[in-house]
């Protein structure tokens, strides 16, 4: 189906150097590798989202492609659909309008017919969608379903998914993977970018491993996961240390009846030194929970941070109470992408910069310290954040938030979403260190394994409320916490 050997440079940096990918028709092919390995870039080149450097080669269905003229429109016509990592929908348009955007057949739109076709196709392949929903108001799971259905609607014979599970809850992941298998059985070729080996095991027929912009290994059945893991990191995987952090009898975060949008009213206490997880299928109010605590969305109820009432305070006031907030999407509200690492690390941090005149030496020293502590690459404090890999960008956000003085409480929303294994270990270590240092940590994540590895106890939210034990599940006392939490998340177990 696809035979590619491609090279790509950004701003003088080679991110892909003659990386190869061969995909057989009707198979599910996993493209794996650490963040920054070049996976996203490779699939973007194949799908015509970005243009490859001259000198490479690309053949689709055995037909050689002229790389210099390859663009999204031609790729779509050749039957290549792509669902990108951060989505590619125009937020104010409906699902059906997004589906026809840039692919209109003629000047007159027939949206009703297209909408009906999309809804029917979605039901057929097991991805129900509402064609008239506004794309920007969909949760990540629904937005992704809409993009997949739109790609299939355009006759995609090859469907590329760039880290599709990063934004999904476990139950949604299982559904998506089953759907991908079903699509492959119907003859659609699938390329899935991921760095989760359990997904590879669940869905892939063949595997290509990228490391540092080059293809280092390919695997055919029977897949041996240990060998794939070694190929990804170039060494054995690090083992997670279990948190053995003492919980203190002092409040870090106290929520009473907090309601906001989907969030219907939550009471929750986090003590200093404690790591508390919030699990739940995306769209059950956990997004609003983080925004409400940070003061970024208006909410009902009361909030105390470090024992101090913070209900009436604005964002800056809550930060001053000792709050740190790691926003769920580093690209929307986490970082100034066009600014340097040093400026992002000092954003809003008047304790570093000084109140009015900026102490540039202090900003630089602060940046160097965070870069060393979190192993941020590149190590140049003046490097522009947009040029960093997702994992390194996330480390910049973590570095800024966790280095606040007098931390009482940390709200970390999806702290390792779309981040490679090495960075995950690093970020988890920082969150544990912050707890050991006396902060209470609230981790909101769609990744159950992350919560189980990281937290003392985990509460589950469903339809805006905590379900099951209001104190949550204490991980140290639970056997098979994954199954218990999964049942609560889906509503299969009421109490």
């Amino acid at each position: 189906m696809i035979a590619a050997t491609l090279t790509k440079r950004y701003a003088g940096r080679t991110v892909l150097s003659a990386a190869t990918l061969e995909v057989a028709r009707g198979t599910v092919h996993a493209l794996v590798g650490e963040n920054g390995a070049g996976k996203s870039t490779l699939v973007k080149l194949i799908a015509g989202v970005e243009r490859a450097e001259p000198g490479g080669s690309l053949a689709v269905d055995g037909t050689p492609i002229e790389l210099a003229r390859w663009d999204r429109r031609r790729a779509r016509a050749a039957g290549i659909g792509i669902v990108q990592q951060h989505g590619a929908s125009a937020g104010i348009l409906s699902v059906v309008e997004n589906a026809v955007l840039g692919a209109e057949a003629g000047a007159i739109l027939r949206l009703d017919a297209t909408a009906a076709a999309l809804a029917k196709l979605g039901d057929d392949v097991g991805l129900p969608i509402d064609p008239w929903a506004v794309a920007g108001e969909l949760g990540p799971g629904a937005a992704q379903r809409a993009e997949i259905v739109a790609a299939l609607h355009h006759g995609a014979k090859l469907l590329i998914l760039d880290e599709p599970t990063a934004v999904l809850a476990p139950i949604e992941v299982d559904k998506l993977l089953a759907t991908l298998r079903a699509l492959a059985a119907r003859g659609t070729t699938i390329v899935i970018v991921t760095h989760k080996l359990d997904e590879v095991r669940a869905v892939a027929d063949a595997v290509t491993v990228l490391r540092a912009g080059a293809t280092v290994a390919t695997f055919a059945p029977p897949l041996e996961l240990g060998a794939i893991a070694r190929a990804i990191v170039g060494a054995e995987l690090p083992v997670h240390a279990t948190a053995a952090i003492a919980i203190r009898d002092e409040p870090a975060l106290a929520l009473r009846g907090v309601a906001c949008g989907e969030l219907a009213g939550i009471d929750l206490d986090v003590a200093r030194g404690e790591l508390v997880g919030v699990a739940g299928v995306d769209g059950n109010g956990q997004r609003e929970l983080a925004l409400a605590i940070a003061g970024l969305a208006a909410s009902a109820g009361t909030i105390a941070i470090g024992g101090v009432g913070a209900t009436g305070r604005d964002v800056a006031g809550r930060l001053a109470c000792g709050l740190a907030h790691v926003p769920e999407d580093r690209h929307h509200g986490g970082l100034l992408l066009d600014a340097s690492i040093a400026d992002n690390l000092a954003l809003g941090r008047t304790d570093v910069t000084g109140r009015f005149r900026i102490d540039r030496a202090a900003v630089l020293a602060h940046a160097r310290a965070r870069i060393a502590e979190l192993d941020i690459r590149p190590t140049d404090p003046d490097a522009i954040v947009a040029a960093l890999s997702g994992g390194n960008q996330q480390k910049v956000v973590i570095g800024r938030e966790l280095s606040r003085p007098n931390l009482a409480a940390i709200v970390a929303a999806q702290p390792t979403r779309g981040v490679d294994l090495g960075a995950v270990a690093n970020i988890h270590a920082r969150l544990r260190a912050a707890a050991a240092g006396g902060a209470g940590v609230l981790v909101i994540s769609a990744d159950l394994d992350e919560l189980i590895a990281l937290c003392h106890r985990i509460v589950v939210v469903l339809r805006g409320r905590i379900v099951g034990d209001p104190r949550g599940l204490v991980i140290a006392d639970a056997d098979d916490p994954r199954a218990r939490l999964g049942a609560l998340m889906t509503g299969a177990e009421a109490a």
Partner: protein, 338 residues
């Protein structure tokens, strides 16, 4: 984009503009070399024309800074015309209302503050409408241009104009800014005000948390907000500052040259400020250079009026802005490829 690329982009844009200008000159049957040569030698060979260039550049610089700081904060201030007009009226009214014999040390700051405050008030209104009522600043600033312009003319006709001409009362002698000694040209000490404003904007942007806050709001309001920056307050203050800068240009016209409110005084300077800000790529030093370049095109155009029609050099000012707008993205692509 890094500073070297910014400079390259501006240089390429200027070269393209020169090429297009040359083509236009050929169209009207003139040798481009001759016209460009005459434009440079006549303008810079004549102290009077150098003075006129500086006079033009002073107003353009202040109005350019006004657009640039608003743009930094993600706002488009098209209201320079109205803010400048408000400044002109306030400056002239205060300058006349002062007792005769008020010393310069009192009169000049009073009139300067009045100009900045009047412009700043218009800017603040635009900022508040944007923040509190979500009215887009492009719409409100254009509308306020019309409202302030009409209001100024009505005020003039009803109260201020004297002796059957569209000119108000003369300001007190103490409020007059000294002329620069350039052959009786209009250039005056308000150039110092403009340079001080440029330095202040540069310092705020590069060295203070205020500047960083307004740049952050311009780059990503959501990230700024989540980092604890009061985005709404920053927007209102930046629009107030932008209005004040445009209003300050009144000192050049009223205190430095006409010494009174005249109908149509400074008309077009506010709009040209947009071109200056874009050509200067929003950087204070770039804006200063751009003000000189556009001032030169305007003054030089008059100087070669016998060789080419003055409309040709007026077109050139538009060509420069188009070329800059096209050169920015082009340099970004080159940077991405390099």
């Amino acid at each position: 984009m890094n500073p070297r690329r910014e400079l390259q982009a501006a240089a390429i844009a200027l070269l393209v503009s020169v090429a297009i200008g040359s083509a236009l000159m050929l169209c009207v049957g003139r040798a481009p070399g001759e016209v460009w040569g005459a434009m440079i030698t006549r303008t810079f060979g004549d102290p009077y024309l150098v003075g006129q260039l500086l006079y033009k550049a002073t107003g353009l610089l202040l109005c350019g800074l006004s657009v640039a700081i608003a743009r930094d904060a993600g706002l488009f201030n098209i209201g320079g015309e109205g803010q400048l007009t408000a400044g002109v009226v306030a400056c002239a009214v205060v300058g006349h209302a002062l007792p005769v014999g008020t010393p310069a040390i009192v009169a000049i700051p009073a009139c300067t503050l009045a100009a900045a405050a009047a412009g700043g008030a218009i800017g603040a209104a635009i900022g508040v409408l944007r923040v509190k009522r979500e009215a887009h600043e492009v719409i409100t600033s254009i509308m306020l241009n019309a409202i302030v312009g009409g209001l100024a003319l009505w005020l003039g006709n009803a109260v201020l104009f004297e002796g059957g001409v569209t000119r108000g009362a003369t300001i007190v002698a103490g409020a007059e800014l000294p002329q620069l000694p350039l052959a009786g040209s209009a250039a005056n000490a308000s150039l110092v005000i403009a340079i001080a404003a440029t330095a202040l904007v540069w310092w705020l942007r590069a060295r203070t948390t205020w500047g960083r806050a307004w740049l952050a709001v311009g780059q990503d309001p959501a990230a700024a907000r989540s980092a604890g920056i009061a985005v709404d307050r920053v927007r209102i203050w930046v629009m107030t500052g932008a209005g004040a800068l445009a209003g300050l240009a009144a000192t050049n016209l009223v205190l430095g040259n006409k010494h009174a409110f005249e109908e149509g005084l400074g008309r077009g300077t506010g709009f040209l400020g947009i071109s200056v800000a874009l050509l200067g790529r929003l950087h204070p030093l770039g804006v200063a250079l751009a003000a000189i370049v556009l001032g030169f095109l305007s003054t030089g155009g008059l100087a070669v009026g016998d060789l080419v029609p003055k409309e040709l050099t007026e077109m050139l000012q538009g060509v420069v802005v188009l070329a800059v707008a096209a050169a920015g993205p082009w340099m970004l692509r080159r940077e991405a490829r390099a």
